[in-house]
């Protein structure tokens, strides 16, 4: 006997005989037919459930829905032959009053697009405001620490220097070396056409020392340490460790934020210097091979090509980049609320914002240096 139902009209009554299993997967097969019952002119209906072998909540719902649909057409409906457990389930389902599914949240459309653009614009302005407010808090805390240097947590500063500085040496070195090699090859390729391949050294030195060394390091550290700051502080926020700190009279900014900022402001210039040197080494080796120069020739040419200022212009930017990265990393970490999911979201956001700020700062420095003629 297959699962389903059949209908007949007997004695001016509409009779539906259900049989077999009325469970979610079987109901799915005959649900469409069940929605299109035609009782004709009958005034009474009987739902005969004596042959139902198994009933789950979906089957009970289908019977309840059918009963209500027939009642809505003005029929008197009775359920016959149901096992005690089955009729109990049908009444439980009826008592639950399931409603129609609520309308899904509105998506798409031009209006929604405009709304989203507006909302994210407002959000960006708010975000900028609160970053500035956080900058103020940090500045005050730095001022306090400057008055009482004993309160600076040196252990934490050193630990953070190790994590974000020392441990980053391999990756920063590898990246800079390879970029140096790439610059050398590209420079020689292009400049050979003008017979000016010796100027590849200028190209390498200026781009590596002024811009690429420090910029690549800053971007790498934003991804490596800025995100770590957000994740560390965010996890502490989720564990209510920050709240515990506040109730113990410890200032989270002094304990968590300042050591990270100090550590990065110290290590990023060192890392940038290291990146400059390794990058020049990589580019230098490539140039010596390509142009058939001795190391001494290379150094003489390099010395003549660029003033020392080129190097300082790059390094000077590093502490500012470091401050921006650490500030954003800690700020986003402290903004974590409640769920572990927000740690992930804000970590991503912290990296994006830190890189954005680094590039904005770099552009500002370029304009500044150009206007004062360096």
């Amino acid at each position: 006997m297959s699962d389903g139902f059949e209908t007949e009209r007997a004695d001016s009554a509409f009779v539906l005989t259900a049989r077999g299993r009325w469970e979610i997967e079987t109901v799915a097969r005959f649900d469409a037919a069940l929605r299109e019952l035609d009782p004709g002119p009958c005034r009474k209906a009987r739902l005969d459930l004596a042959k139902v072998e198994a009933l789950d909540s979906t089957g009970a719902w289908a019977i309840h829905r059918t009963r209500e649909a027939l009642r809505a057409r003005g029929l008197a409906v009775e359920i016959l032959g149901a096992k005690a457990a089955h009729s109990a389930l049908i009444e439980r389902v009826a008592a639950a009053h399931p409603s129609e599914e609520p309308a899904p949240p509105p998506h798409g459309g031009f209006r929604a697009l405009v709304e989203r653009v507006g909302a994210s614009t407002i959000w960006m302005v708010d975000e900028a405001k609160s970053v500035v407010a956080f900058l103020g808090l940090v500045t005050i805390a730095i001022g306090r620490s400057a008055l009482r240097p004993k309160r600076i947590r040196m252990t934490s500063v050193v630990a953070n220097m190790e994590r974000s500085g020392l441990n980053a040496l391999p990756i920063v070195g590898l990246l800079s070396f390879l970029i140096g090699v790439v610059l050398a090859y590209q420079g020689v390729d292009q400049l050979t056409r003008f017979g000016a391949e010796i100027f590849s050294i200028n190209l390498l030195a200026v781009s590596m020392l002024r811009e690429i060394g420090v910029l690549m390091t800053a971007i790498l550290i934003a991804g490596r340490s800025g995100s770590a700051f957000t994740a560390q502080i965010g996890t502490m926020k989720v564990n209510q460790e920050i709240d515990a700190m506040s109730t113990l009279g410890l200032d989270p900014i002094e304990v968590l934020v300042l050591p990270r900022i100090f550590a990065l402001v110290i290590t990023l210039p060192l890392l940038a210097f290291y990146a400059d040197m390794v990058g020049m080494l990589g580019g230098g080796i490539a140039l010596m091979l390509l142009l058939d120069m001795s190391p001494a020739q290379f150094l003489i040419q390099l010395n003549a090509a660029i003033p020392l200022w080129t190097f300082w212009v790059g390094i000077i930017k590093a502490p500012f980049f470091a401050f921006a990265i650490a500030l954003i990393g800690c700020y986003e970490g402290l903004r974590v609320s409640g769920s572990a999911e927000s740690v992930g979201r804000l970590t991503t956001q912290s990296v994006v914002e830190a890189i954005f700020l680094v590039l904005v700062l770099d552009a500002s420095f370029s304009i500044l240096f150009s206007s004062i003629g360096i």
Binding site: A28, A54, D56, R92, A96, E341
Partner: protein, 263 residues
């Protein structure tokens, strides 16, 4: 083909049969030769000290943790001997409610309920929407909760939503991990009576890990106490007379007296 439902099998066949279960983490033995039968249609409460392996037992039965030794039969099938297809089919016959609901945070409540349904069946959109709304109503959530995300719900509502997801396919066995933890006493009592009510209406077998003496008294047919790496099973009244010191302490301690069990 789906595996047969309980009605096809002998009534003597328990819903869950655990024999000689051994669980270890490194050198630490959690369960040592544990035997447990859960009968069809009963509510069994599992209690025990913190670290006695209540949740590990639940996780082992549903296959989230592999036992070192012993056999576990669920609905007459030995879980360890099934191939992937059979295990998949068996999973359709149980639902698990984790402690805080474990709802998928990127989906609405309605979408959460639809995950298991879509995994196993291909329903018409209309019927799917009706079944979803039915589950939302059965667990006592307001209709507008269906369109909300888990982060927008209170703890009690998240548990109800998790229960709705666990019940999405009308399982035979419902596993609950500390269903009333973190709820206020009124919310906990309401959740207890919801579970009892659904258990009776849907004919569920309920395996419930709990710390809540009120839940034990209110809805459990039998209680399994995890002591000395094994379980001692009995009804509340028989356990009240049990000699084991931990069980005496548990059912006759000050909190038990406050809950009215240890008179």
């Amino acid at each position: 083909m789906k595996p047969s439902t309980p009605s096809d099998q002998g009534a003597t066949n328990p819903a869950i049969r655990v024999r000689g279960l051994v669980n270890k983490f490194g050198e630490t033995v959690i369960h040592d030769g544990l035997d447990l039968d859960v009968q069809r249609g009963e509510v069994i409460g599992v209690v025990g000290a913190s670290g006695s392996g209540k949740s590990v037992l639940l996780r082992t039965i549903v296959g989230l943790n592999r036992q070192a030794e012993g056999s576990i039969e669920v609905l007459g099938r030995e879980v360890g001997r099934l191939n992937e297809g059979e295990r998949e089919a068996l999973r359709r016959h149980w639902g698990v409610l984790f402690q805080d609901g474990a709802l998928f945070s990127s989906m609405t409540v309605a979408q959460n309920i639809q995950v298991p349904i879509k995994q196993f069946l291909d329903l018409q959109p209309h019927l799917l929407a009706e079944v979803t709304a039915l589950k939302v109503a059965l667990v006592g959530l307001p209709p507008d909760a269906a369109g909300k995300y888990p982060s927008e719900l209170s703890g009690g509502m998240r548990k109800r939503a998790g229960l709705a997801r666990a019940l999405a396919l009308d399982p035979d066995i419902l596993f609950l991990d500390e269903p009333t933890a973190g709820l206020d006493p009124i919310g906990a009592a309401a959740f207890d009576s919801l579970i009892r009510n659904l258990q009776q209406a849907l004919g569920l077998t309920v395996f419930m890990v709990t710390h809540d003496l009120d839940s034990l008294a209110a809805i459990c047919d039998r209680i399994a106490v995890l002591v000395d790496k094994k379980v001692i099973v009995g009804t509340l009244s028989s356990l009240l007379r049990h000699e084991h010191p931990w069980i005496r302490e548990y059912f006759h301690g000050p909190r038990a007296r406050a809950a009215g069990t240890g008179a």
